[in-house]
């Protein structure tokens, strides 16, 4: 789960990481009032779950409260990578002497949380990694011991030479590790970590991604979810316990299992179609899930055909069939439907479908070919 910059900053602040003040505005008026309160030049930053905010015009300076109002009005109209900006963070502009990068992610290769530190901050770390890899120091943290002070110091010495700054940065790194691990992070990042002309260190930006699997046991973190900042269809899918990702194609896919769902999308493409989505109904498929899945998919105007690909293991195919029949009764489909069913309770499922005038295939390839042909109005490749 993505959280906003201002939310990540609130968390980091609780852990004693030095972060300049800042307040959130949802209207130009609020932004103006906040800027007036700060009484200095402010930075206005779009709060949106997308990278590259700066390039998209989502981060701007404002010297006066009036300018803050205008700038906020502009930014609140932006749509960045498909996501409309609903909130801005207003924060006093800071004088910057240097910019560094520190971040931590869970690394699958080392099976540990891995720190990255770079004196080349303020820009995308992937860019630094690609162009000047020697400017990044990596350090995998032993989860049994946590980040020791000497390890934090080694990372901090890579960023600074002044011992006061080294110690301050080391403490920030230890606290960042705590914030990350105590809140179920899968990523935590400060970019840039700046020094002021007076030599103080502060986190000017903050980013944090929470492992979805942590949310059940962390209701306070789960409450940070901002549904207004997410794709509407994905919010609905999550509420129905479906895993759904919207894409741009024309063949809507309903599959059980993530691997089979991906393979189905690939096969759609293989036969000349374009998948409209990734959708995994999961293992325990009750009919309601199927109803929700169809509702979500049919609300996408690009979808020209719908394909079910169900391999019944734990999933009972009769449940799926019941769901399809119920959904169609509620909302008759406007696009053609291809069903592939095999496995657990297959015979019952076919009987259910037959009663409602539907039919199903048993071969995945044939089903995908047919769906693509129907969506493209021609033949599959």
């Amino acid at each position: 789960m993505n959280i906003h910059e201002y939310q990540a900053k609130d968390i980091f602040r609780k852990y004693g990481i030095p972060i300049p003040p800042g307040e959130v505005a949802t209207t130009p008026d609020e932004a103006q009032a906040i800027a007036r309160k700060f009484g200095t030049t402010v930075v206005i930053k779009a709060q949106v779950h997308a990278g590259g905010r700066g390039k998209a015009g989502g981060v701007k300076l404002a010297k006066t409260p009036e300018e803050a109002r205008n700038v906020a009005a502009q930014i609140l109209k932006l749509v960045i990578k498909g996501l409309p900006v609903q909130k801005v963070l207003v924060t006093p502009a800071a004088d910057i002497a240097s910019e560094a990068y520190v971040g931590i992610i869970v690394d699958r290769a080392s099976k540990r949380s891995v720190f990255m530190a770079s004196p080349a901050g303020g820009i995308d770390i992937e860019e630094v990694a690609a162009k000047t890899p020697d400017k990044i120091l990596r350090h995998a943290v032993d989860p049994r011991y946590g980040l020791q002070m000497f390890e934090a110091m080694q990372l901090a010495f890579f960023l600074y030479s002044d011992i006061k700054q080294v110690r301050a940065a080391a403490k920030i790194l230890q606290q960042l590790y705590k914030a990350f691990s105590e809140n179920g992070g899968s990523l935590a990042e400060i970019n840039p970590l700046v020094t002021t002309p007076a030599g103080e260190i502060a986190a000017l930006d903050a980013k944090m991604v929470i492992d979805d699997n942590e949310l059940d046991r962390r209701p306070d973190i789960a409450a940070l979810r901002d549904e207004s900042a997410e794709e509407e269809s994905e919010v609905e899918a999550r509420k129905a316990n479906l895993t759904f990702i919207k894409l741009d194609g024309n063949v809507g896919c309903v599959v059980n299992g993530a691997g089979l769902a991906m393979a189905t999308m690939d096969l759609v493409k293989y036969y000349g179609g374009e998948p409209a989505n990734f959708l995994d109904i999961g293992g325990s498929s009750n009919p309601e899930k199927v109803v929700a899945a169809l509702r979500i998919i049919t609300s996408d105007k690009n979808v020209k055909a719908i394909l079910f690909n169900i391999f019944g293991g734990i999933t009972r195919t009769d449940d799926v069939a019941n769901g399809i029949v119920t959904a169609i009764k509620q909302n008759p489909l406007k696009v053609p439907l291809v069903i592939r069913l095999t496995g657990t309770n297959e015979e019952i499922a076919l009987e259910i479908l037959k009663k409602s005038g539907l039919s199903a295939m048993t071969d995945m390839d044939e089903a995908v070919k047919k769906a693509v042909a129907l969506a493209t109005g021609g033949k599959a490749k």
Partner: protein, 290 residues
């Protein structure tokens, strides 16, 4: 004969009285797996289905039953503890079916299990089956048939699809292993490939990967450097967009790394036959084993 499990497997079920645990325990018993005990704290002394003794702790269960394998069906918040309990009780092979285990939990479980010398399969995996011998987990027994091909996969239903096609084409399996779709898990591709290479009954191997990480690439190099048996593979997620988690927590393209294209190229460069469609696995196998 098979890898990891066979007729001598004495299985414990952690979470045997839960919804999933009880359902699949019945399936496993039906398939012929020796389920020697179950664990549900507070139900120690009772019996599952009037047959399988239930214990309060894994330590007690191991002592009383001599279990050598355990399968875990407990809910995600307790799965890490269950894996650690099993390892601490000295069970050499631990299979965790549970989906949704926090990845930071796994950073701690991994060294814990390793220090105690146990093998972990999963979490978030369908388990494994050695057709005709033993089934541990949730892979439907009826789609498998005994034979001489080993299969290892990151996926669940996609595995079933491929196994089903193999069985229809009369290509049987020694063992089918689902290693799971999480970013940090126990047994990986190479562990399984290595075991299949050493298993006399296995003549060829199918490897089913997906986007995310570099396990398939490393596995491909292992095939070239360490294996004599033919290996064919399939990668799911050619159409997956970067930065989005495709259901499995581990199925995510980060930056330019972990794409299907990259993995398929690694397969080709290292002599692993690449199936374009799941069904193509069958033809590739037939050719490889000729």
């Amino acid at each position: 004969m098979s890898i990891f499990i066979d007729k001598s497997t004495r299985l414990l079920v952690q979470g045997i009285t839960g919804r999933d645990g009880s359902f699949h325990t019945k399936q496993m018993i039906e398939y012929g797996t020796q389920v020697v005990g179950g664990v549900t704290p507070g139900k120690g002394g009772q019996k599952f289905e009037d047959k399988v003794p239930i214990f309060n702790t894994v330590a007690e269960a191991v002592k009383k039953t001599g279990a050598n394998t355990t399968v875990i069906y407990v809910p995600p918040p307790f799965a890490a503890d269950a894996m650690m309990e099993a390892a601490d009780a000295g069970i050499p092979f631990i299979v965790c079916i549970t989906e949704g285990v926090p990845v930071l939990d796994m950073t701690r479980v991994y060294p814990y299990v390793k220090e105690r010398g146990s093998r972990l399969l999963g979490p978030n995996c369908p388990g494994l089956i050695s057709p005709g011998q033993s089934k541990v987990g949730i892979i439907p027994g009826r789609i498998c048939t005994p034979g001489n091909v080993g299969l290892v996969s990151r996926s669940g239903t996609l595995t079933y699809e491929v196994v089903f096609q193999m069985t229809r084409a009369k290509i049987g399996q020694t063992t089918c292993v689902g290693i799971g779709g999480d970013p940090i898990n126990g047994t990986n591709f190479i562990d399984c490939l290595d075991a299949f290479e050493k298993d006399a009954a296995t003549k060829a191997v199918v490897m089913i990967g997906e986007i995310g990480g570099t396990d398939e690439q490393e596995a491909a190099r292992f095939v070239r450097e360490k294996m004599k048996k033919p290996v064919v593979g399939f990668i799911a997620g050619q159409t997956a967009p970067p930065g989005r988690r495709m259901g499995h927590a581990g199925a995510i393209i980060s930056g330019s790394a972990g794409t299907a294209a990259e993995k398929m190229q690694a397969f080709e460069e290292n002599g692993v036959g690449v199936a374009k469609r799941p069904i193509d696995v069958v033809d590739l196998l037939k050719r490889a084993m000729r």
